[in-house]
């Protein structure tokens, strides 16, 4: 397994200007972790969930506002708050 890449997946081919992107990576001691990331809305309600990629990365297409990311990996759950805006990718590095 190669090491974790900094930040979320490559944005090539993604229409960043029209989307509100939240992305990043999940690592443990600098190495990518296989698990899941949930996106919760401002009221704490589930909005989406994705498995992390082989390099620990994840991406959501959200809407402008404040969101919570919840990483679920074997033996740990970690929350991070993120503010997203249209036209830019909000990058979140989650260490578990």
């Amino acid at each position: 397994m190669c090491g974790a890449k900094a930040g979320g997946p490559d944005l090539a081919g993604v229409d960043v200007a029209s989307e509100t992107i939240i992305q990043g990576s999940v690592t443990r001691d600098g190495e990518p972790v296989s698990g899941y990331v949930r996106l919760l809305d401002g009221g704490g309600e589930f909005t989406a969930e994705v498995p992390t990629s082989a390099t620990g990365q994840f991406r959501f297409f959200a809407a402008p506002g404040t969101w919570t990311l919840r990483a679920l990996v074997p033996g740990a759950t970690v929350d991070r708050t993120v503010v997203a805006q249209q036209g830019a990718a909000a990058e979140v590095a989650i260490a578990v």
Binding site: D15, E19, E45, F61, P74
Partner: protein, 278 residues
């Protein structure tokens, strides 16, 4: 019917993994997940390639379903155990689909692929070989599938349960947030629908909540369980999860899944649409 007839846990699957009369089937939104690894002896059903008509927007017909299950080595008297990613969304969709064509013994693995992974259970890459069967499907059961006219006629009279996330219900998002948002249809929801996201029926690990919690959830949201209910989402897979909760776990007899869901309804000309939260 009780919960144990339709839902099994990982220990049950591990105890039956080599039982030739039990067929474990993985169904994922990400149809390549199976290629990476899967539960030993599990076969794959691809919800796009195997379950959708290649031309029309509809399911494969009865003969097509028979050919699919025959090729997968699934017999009429086999116990089928479905599991998948995304908290069993597409496994629930396949469960409902198997019931639509009359398969008797179908079960879901509680928590699906996610719980299996989070519990660090074994996954393998080897693809099992199963001898082909001569599967005989029944005609589609119209009692569990709703069409667009059923939904329009249900406005203001029957229970309409919109199981998408609150932001999709209100019109802020057009698709689940792991997908790009550019869509052709209008945002919003069917008037008089209650927004009860599928996620409220499941725990973080993807397992279903208890029957008491589930009953309280729907009654607390104003769903009169004595009335007929239609569940919908965006393409019918999350609402199949809620159909499973209402029809299979809570034993409500008159529950239909509207698989056309928002991608159809939000594209119809002239139908009423509401915006905003519950």
């Amino acid at each position: 019917m009780s919960r144990s007839d339709v839902l099994v846990d990982a220990e049950w699957v591990e105890a039956h993994i080599d039982d030739p009369k039990v067929v474990i089937v993985e169904v994922d939104e990400d149809t390549s997940a199976y290629d990476k690894n899967h539960i030993r002896n599990a076969v794959r059903i691809d919800w796009k390639q195997d379950l959708q008509d290649p031309v029309r927007r509809d399911f494969v017909d009865q003969a097509g379903f028979e050919a699919l299950l025959s090729a997968k080595g699934i017999g009429n008297d086999d116990t089928v155990v479905l599991y998948g990613g995304n908290n069993n969304w597409f496994a629930s969709y396949a469960y409902w689909y198997f019931k639509l064509y009359g398969h008797e013994d179908v079960k879901l693995l509680d928590g699906g692929r996610k719980k299996w992974e989070l519990d660090s259970r074994d996954l393998v890459a080897a693809v099992p070989e199963r001898a082909a069967t001569g599967y005989q499907a029944k005609a589609q059961n119209p009692d569990i599938r709703a069409f667009r006219d059923d939904v329009v006629n249900a406005i203001g009279s029957l229970n309409l349960v919109d199981v998408r996330s609150p932001d999709e219900f209100s019109g802020k998002l057009l698709a689940p947030a792991h997908l790009p948002q550019e869509q052709s249809q209008r945002p919003g929801h069917v008037p008089t629908a209650r927004n009860i996201p599928w996620s409220k029926s499941a725990n973080d690990d993807g397992t279903f909540k208890s029957d008491d919690e589930l009953k309280e959830l729907y009654e607390g949201e104003g769903v009169d369980l004595s009335k007929d209910t239609i569940a919908y989402c965006r393409i019918g897979e999350r609402s199949a999860h809620t159909w499973f909760v209402l029809h299979e776990l809570l034993g409500q007899p008159n529950v239909k899944n509207y698989d056309g869901s928002w991608t159809e309804y939000g594209s119809l000309v002239g139908v009423p649409i509401e915006l905003g939260a519950n």
